[in-house]
Amino acid sequence: MKTVLSINNLSKRYGKIQAVDHLSIEVKEGEIFGILGPNGSGKTTTLSMVLDFVKADSGTFEWFEKRPSPEIRKRIGSVIESPNFYPYLSAVNNLKIIGDIKGIGYDDIDRVLKTSGLYERRLSPFRTFSFGMKQRLALASALLGNPELLILDEPTNGLDPQGIAHIREIILQVALHGTTIIIASHLLDEVQKVCSHVAVLQKGKKLYSGKVSEVLSVSDCVELASSDTDLLIKTISEHPKYKNHEKSNGMLLVYFEGETEPAELNEFLHMKGIVLSHLSDRKRTLEQHFLELLQENK
């Protein structure tokens, strides 16, 4: 599979703050790649550097396995930080400027305005738009000309639930056509719902990256007790999803990779000749898991 974006050892410092710290990320064709991290973790700075309006202190990056250039940026649709448009120009004229810059003409303008639900207001100046409409115009501008890659920085930031749902629906529709998408977000829920792959950032460093189902999987925790604890440990560690365990108050806390069903566990142990005296499911929420990820790396 072709690599769409590869970032190698990218760093950027703003005064005393190391905004991005030797970051390496690889995004493959067709992925919906989430860059997840709390505010100030370096998501926007990273995107600013790869889109060439902020200079990296060190490190390199490549688009579509080529050195970055303005020509390559024409193949990318992006929404960065806040919607940036000429306030006194209408939605249509703002999009026409982008059409001119990208050299793709104006044929696609009506379509993206309809997709984003702004067609009726297309002749109004940008400054008269509500925040939600501005955000939607930004998305429309990114979709213009069906780019191969879509980069969205906090696309649902500041929107009401209805607006969020609308934008997510558009993103998923675009993804269906095989467009690669990179989304930066501080919302775990958003990444979880939309992305296939994820990199978790904190203080400019990458903590984890990989498939969403692996990185953000609910690692289950189950409380077990049996008459022979040592045998229980030995047996449960043979379980395919076993991760690790700890003892507490005569109970055994066992962590699993991915989801496990109590019934399935019970059956597994029973087959190996162990009779449980206690079994209790202690699922952690995703939110807890994400916070723990960040906590571990403080």
Binding site: L51, P70, I80, N84, Y86, Y88, I97, D100
Partner: protein
């Protein structure tokens, strides 16, 4: 280049502030050109009332002197500053609205962005010069006798001189816009520098003991203004001892163009180095 023009033109097409300022500029330019003779003669009349030696009335609109006279009145600081403010606003707007970022993200190179602004400056300068040329031609035609008409082209060179004036002054504004990036700050400092700070420096540098290395005429705005230094009015020579130019000051054309080249160079270098 046509692509850059299209982009730039769309940015100003429905921008009211641009049209208001440009409109005001042409009104002031027109007033300056058509009122100059009247105002000067009003002043001469007042002078003649108080002094026994009468001063002759001024005529500005005959060939070939009209080239020199009107390019002079079209290039006084207070008129030239209007298009300069337009240039500053169009540049700093891109930073305050962060649209320059969006332009670059969408695939415009920083260089092309700078070229689009320079192209706008060039076209505006050409347009104003052509309008001025047409006004001079018809005004001269209606005020000249046959003999003067025969000398029509003699001082034509003042028109290209004016073109270099407006072009290099607008490039000076371009420099301020990209250096300061904030609309208010850039407008305030540019206006202060053009109208107050440089004139003060000019006179400070003229203090006698600094005379041997007097650099006053070579300050940026001053060198632009000296391309067409005075109108061709005989009493300036007779009563004030001013030497009138017969042609454009090529020295100051050269200095102004040199400043322009340096400023453009600095802007390109800065834009390459700094984050947007």
């Amino acid at each position: 280049m046509i692509k850059l023009f299209k982009i730039e033109f769309r940015k100003i097409l429905t921008y009211r502030v641009f049209w208001i300022l440009t409109g005001l500029y042409f009104i002031f330019l027109g007033l300056g050109i058509f009122m100059a003779e009247f105002i000067l003669n009003d002043w001469v009349n007042n002078f003649n009332k108080r002094f026994p030696i009468p001063m002759p009335h001024v005529t500005l609109y005959f060939f070939p002197d009209i080239w020199q006279n009107l390019t002079f009145f079209a290039s006084i600081r207070y008129v030239l500053i209007f298009p300069a403010l337009v240039v500053i606003i169009l540049i700093t707007n891109e930073f305050t609205n962060k649209t320059i970022r969006q332009n670059v993200v969408n695939g415009l190179s920083k260089r092309d962005f700078l070229f689009s602004k320079l192209q706008f400056i060039l076209l505006l300068s050409i347009f104003v010069t052509i309008v001025l040329g047409i006004v001079i031609f018809f005004l001269g035609l209606s005020h000249s006798d046959a003999q003067q008409f025969g000398m029509m082209s003699r001082k034509f060179m003042f028109l290209p001189g004016f073109f270099i004036q407006i072009l290099s002054y607008l490039i000076f504004a371009f420099f301020f816009g990209f250096l300061l990036r904030h609309t208010g700050l850039a407008i305030a400092l540019f206006t202060l520098y053009s109208l107050i700070i440089e004139p003060v420096i000019y006179y400070v540098l003229k203090i006698p003991f600094l005379q041997p290395n007097n650099v006053s005429p070579y300050l940026p705005v001053n060198s632009v203004l000296r391309i067409v230094e005075y109108p061709s009015i005989p009493f300036l020579q007779k009563f004030m001892g001013i030497t009138l130019q017969n042609s454009v000051s090529l020295l100051h054309c050269g200095i102004a163009l040199m400043y322009s080249a340096i400023m453009i160079g600095i802007v390109f270098w800065l834009m390459d180095k700094k984050d947007l």
